[in-house]
Symmetry: C2
Subunit: 446 residues, 2 copies
C-alpha cells in the first residue's frame, strides 16, 4: 500500500476520470480540475469522432471492475464495411472468432466515467481554469483569466491529463532539455450524422465500422445506441476535393452525389450539419520527458496526442494508467522510480502508436478499396490461422493483444517486407493458399 | 520603393541588428527591442562558440556595405587542424585557392552591429521585455514581469528575431495548424580558453579551426584577434566520458591528460574555467508557418535554430535577410506576397541546413580522424579540380557558394552514394587518382 497523498488531476476527460478512480482506489485524496463545465450538464459539441474501445481499453476498465457497466453502452464492430461506388458492400473482418472493437460515444462514456469517479469519492472542480503549475512543489495556479488574479492550490502530486493542448505540459515545455513536437495534418475532419430509422433501428449494418474510402479523403460511420451513426468526413483543407472547395450548398451536394451517392438517403441533414459543425484539425504531439521529479506527470493525450486512424488514442491513454498502476503496486512510495519507469516504458510505445496511426490513414482511405491489399490480408489471415504461433497480423497485435505497440510496429514492418515479397509471386491470385506460398512465408520468417 | 512603415524588430542579436539596418535603408522607421542590457555595456557570458562567417554571411553584410568593416575583426581559417594523440598535427583544407571561413567573436560582432545600426538611425530599446504579441495588429506587449502591468506598442509590422526561445513565435505556436518541434541533443558544450602568448601571438596556428576529435566528444578552438582561442568542449551530459562524470578537479585533470594531453600547456585555467562556465544545451528547433498575415514574421534562430556543427546558424539567418530584401525589392508594398514567398522559399533551406548541421557532428568528432574519410575527401578534391562543372564538394556548396542549402543536401546525398561505391574499389588507396577511378565517377554521375 502507498502512503495516502493529496493528488490533483488536471482534466476530467476519459483518461483523467479513470486515473482519478485508480488513484482513489489506491487510497489517495483525489481532486480533478477542468476548465469546462461538468460534461453531464452540457450538450455535446458536434466535433467528436466515436471511440473504438479495444483490448487495452477494456483491460484498464476491467481492472477496477467498470468494464461491464461500460459494455452496456458499447456496440461491437467485428468488421469494416467498405462502400465503393458501383460495387456491392464488402465486409472485412478485423480479427478471428468475432473479435471486435467497440463503438462508444465519447460524450456518453465521459459522463459515465465522471459519475463513476464521483461515486468512488473523487472530488471534481469544474469551470476551474488552471493556467500554470509550479513543477517543483506540485502547486496549481487557478483563476478566471490568464492575466487576472490566481490562487494557489498545493498538492503532493499533479497529473496532467489535460489533453493535446495541456497547460501542465506547457509549463514543462519551458524547461531546458524538453523535447517537443506538434505536427498538424493537412487533412481535417467534420462530424455528420446518420439518424436512426423511425423504429429506432440502424439504417446501415450496426456491427460494422463503415468506410467510404476515396484515397485522399474518406467518410466513416460508427454506430450509436440510439440507432444513429456518428459520421466523420476526413478531407484535405485545401485542394481539388477539400473543405475549402465545399463552400456552398451546391458544391457540397454535387460532391456528395459524385463521391458518396449511397449516403444521400441516409444523411438527411447534410447541408445544415456540414455548415454548422466545425472543421477540426488533426495533430500528432510528442514530447519527453513526461514527468518532473516525483511531483508532476503527464498522461494520455497530454504527452502523446495521435491522429485517430487506428482508433487508439483512448486505448493508449488507458494503457498508460494500467502501467502506472502496476508500477505503483511494484514500487509503493518510491514515486521517483514509479515516474521514471513509467515514462521510460511508455514513451517508445506512444511513439509507435503515433506512427501506426499516421500510416493507417492510407490503409483506411486507399488500401481498403484495393483488391491486391485485400488478397494480402486474406493470405495473412489464412497463414495466421494455420500458424498462430508464427504470425499475428499487425492489426490484431495492436488491437486484440496487450503486446507493446513498439513490438507491433517492429514486427509489422518485418511482416510487410515478407508480404511484399509474397505478393510478387507469379500467379499469387490463384495459388495464394498453396503449400508453395506457405513454405515461402515460413522460409522468409526464419 | 516601399511606403515607409513603423516596424518593430524583437531581438538585438546579429540577425535583429542586421535586419534593422536593411529595413532602415528601405526607408522604414525601425525600433529594436531586447530584454537584455545593451551588449556594448556588459561582459560576455562565457557560453559563446565563436562564429564562422562564410559566403552567405558576407553577402548579406556586403550588400549594405558593412563587409569591409567586419572583415577587420575577422580571422580567416582556410583549414581544419586535427589533433590526434600520438600523431603529428594534420591540416585539412576547406576549399581551394585559400577559400576560408572567418572566425569572429559573437560578442564583438554583435556590439559592432548594434553601433552600425544606431549610426543608420535605428532606435534600440534595451532591457525592455516583450512578453506577448497580438498577431492580428502587430502590437507588442511589454512590461517588467510576465504577470505584471504591460503596455502596448503598436506597429505596422513586427519581426521576431528573438532567437531559439522566441516570445513572438511562442504566441504563434498557440495558433491552430502551427507545426513546431524542439529537440535537444544529449551532447552539451562548455567554453574554455587558450590565452595568447605573452607577446600577443597565438599559441596554435592562427588560421586553422582546431579540432581534437574523440568520437563521442571533441574539443574545438577558434582564433581571436587578441591572440587567444575560444575553445568549446562538446560532450554528452551523461555516460562514461561526460559532463556528469567530470565532477571534480581530479576527474577533470585525468580526463584531459588522457584525451587532450596536448592542451594541458595551452589551457592554463582549465579547472577554474570548467567549473565556472555553464554547461550549455544544443537544440534543433523547427516550425511553420513563419509569418502571420502581412503583420508578423519570424527570422533567424526564432524560426530555425540549429546545432552549431556546420557553423551556419548566423549565415543562414543572414541569408534570410538577403532573401527577404530581394522580395521587398521585387514586390514593393505587397507584404502579403513578400511574407508568403519568404517562408516558402526559406523553409526547405532551413530544414536542410538543420539536417546538415546535425550530421556534421559525426564528421567533425569522428570522421576527421579517419584515414578512409580523408582519402575520400582527397579523391573528391582531385576529381572536383579536374571537373569543376561536375563536382562541387558538399562542404564547398554549403559554405563557399550561394546555392540553396536544400540543393546542397540533395546533391550531397547523391555524391555520398557515389563515393561509397568508389571507396569499395579494390586497391583504392593506390589508384585513387587513376583514370579508372575518374571514369567510374563520371559513369556513376550520369
Amino acid at each position: 500500500m502507498q502512503t495516502p497523498l493529496k493528488i490533483a488531476v488536471v482534466g476530467s476527460g476519459l483518461v483523467g476520470s479513470l486515473l482519478a478512480i485508480y488513484l482513489k482506489r489506491a487510497g489517495h485524496t483525489v481532486h480533478v480540475y477542468d476548465r469546462s463545465p461538468d460534461i453531464r450538464t452540457i450538450q455535446f459539441s458536434g466535433r467528436s469522432i466515436n471511440l473504438a474501445m479495444s483490448h487495452r481499453g477494456w483491460r484498464a476498465l476491467d481492472e477496477v471492475g467498470l468494464g461491464d457497466e461500460i459494455r452496456q453502452i458499447a456496440i461491437p464492430m467485428d468488421k469494416r464495411a467498405i462502400h465503393i461506388v458501383g460495387e456491392p458492400l464488402a465486409f472485412q473482418y478485423y480479427g478471428k472468432d468475432g473479435e471486435s472493437i467497440y463503438s462508444l460515444s465519447r460524450g456518453l462514456l465521459n459522463r459515465k466515467m465522471v459519475s463513476l469517479a464521483e461515486a468512488e469519492g473523487v472530488e471534481f472542480f469544474f469551470e476551474t481554469k488552471i493556467w500554470d503549475v509550479t513543477l517543483a512543489d506540485a502547486t496549481l495556479h487557478a483563476g478566471d483569466t490568464e492575466r487576472g488574479e490566481w490562487n494557489e492550490l498545493k498538492y503532493d502530486k499533479v497529473f496532467g491529463a489535460d489533453g493535446a493542448f495541456s497547460r501542465v505540459r506547457h509549463r514543462m515545455q519551458r524547461q531546458s532539455m524538453f523535447n517537443y513536437s506538434q505536427e498538424f495534418l493537412n487533412t481535417g475532419y467534420k462530424e455528420l450524422n446518420i439518424p436512426a430509422n423511425e423504429d429506432g433501428t440502424h439504417k446501415l449494418d450496426k456491427n460494422s465500422l463503415h468506410i467510404w474510402p476515396r484515397n485522399d479523403f474518406m467518410l466513416i460511420a460508427l454506430p450509436n445506441l440510439d440507432g444513429s451513426f456518428t459520421c466523420t468526413l476526413f478531407m484535405p483543407f485545401e485542394g481539388e476535393n477539400s473543405f475549402e472547395a465545399l463552400k456552398d450548398k451546391d458544391s457540397l451536394e454535387k460532391f456528395f452525389a459524385t463521391y458518396f451517392p449511397s449516403t444521400i438517403d441516409v444523411i438527411p441533414d447534410l447541408v445544415a450539419d456540414f455548415f454548422k459543425n466545425p472543421t477540426s484539425t488533426l495533430v500528432t504531439m510528442k514530447c519527453y520527458p513526461w514527468t518532473y521529479s516525483d511531483k508532476v506527470a503527464l498522461i494520455g493525450d497530454a504527452c502523446h496526442a495521435i491522429v485517430p486512424f487506428y482508433g487508439h488514442g483512448m486505448n493508449a491513454g488507458f494503457e498508460d494508467i494500467t502501467i502506472l498502476n502496476q508500477l505503483m503496486g511494484q514500487y509503493g512510495d518510491d514515486w521517483d522510480t514509479i515516474f521514471k519507469e513509467y515514462e521510460i516504458s511508455r514513451k517508445p510505445n506512444a511513439d509507435a502508436i503515433a506512427e501506426l496511426s499516421y500510416r493507417n490513414f492510407m490503409e483506411m482511405s486507399s488500401k481498403t478499396a484495393d483488391a491486391k491489399f485485400l488478397l494480402q490480408k486474406k493470405i495473412e489471415k489464412w497463414f495466421s490461422a494455420k500458424h498462430p504461433d508464427k504470425w499475428l497480423p499487425l492489426y490484431s497485435r495492436v488491437t486484440f493483444s496487450y503486446r507493446p505497440y513498439s513490438e507491433a510496429l517492429a514486427i509489422g514492418d518485418q511482416q510487410k517486407a515478407i508480404m511484399d515479397e509474397i505478393m510478387q509471386i507469379d500467379g499469387i491470385e490463384e495459388k495464394w493458399n498453396s503449400p508453395e506460398v506457405e513454405q515461402k512465408i515460413i522460409e522468409l520468417l526464419s
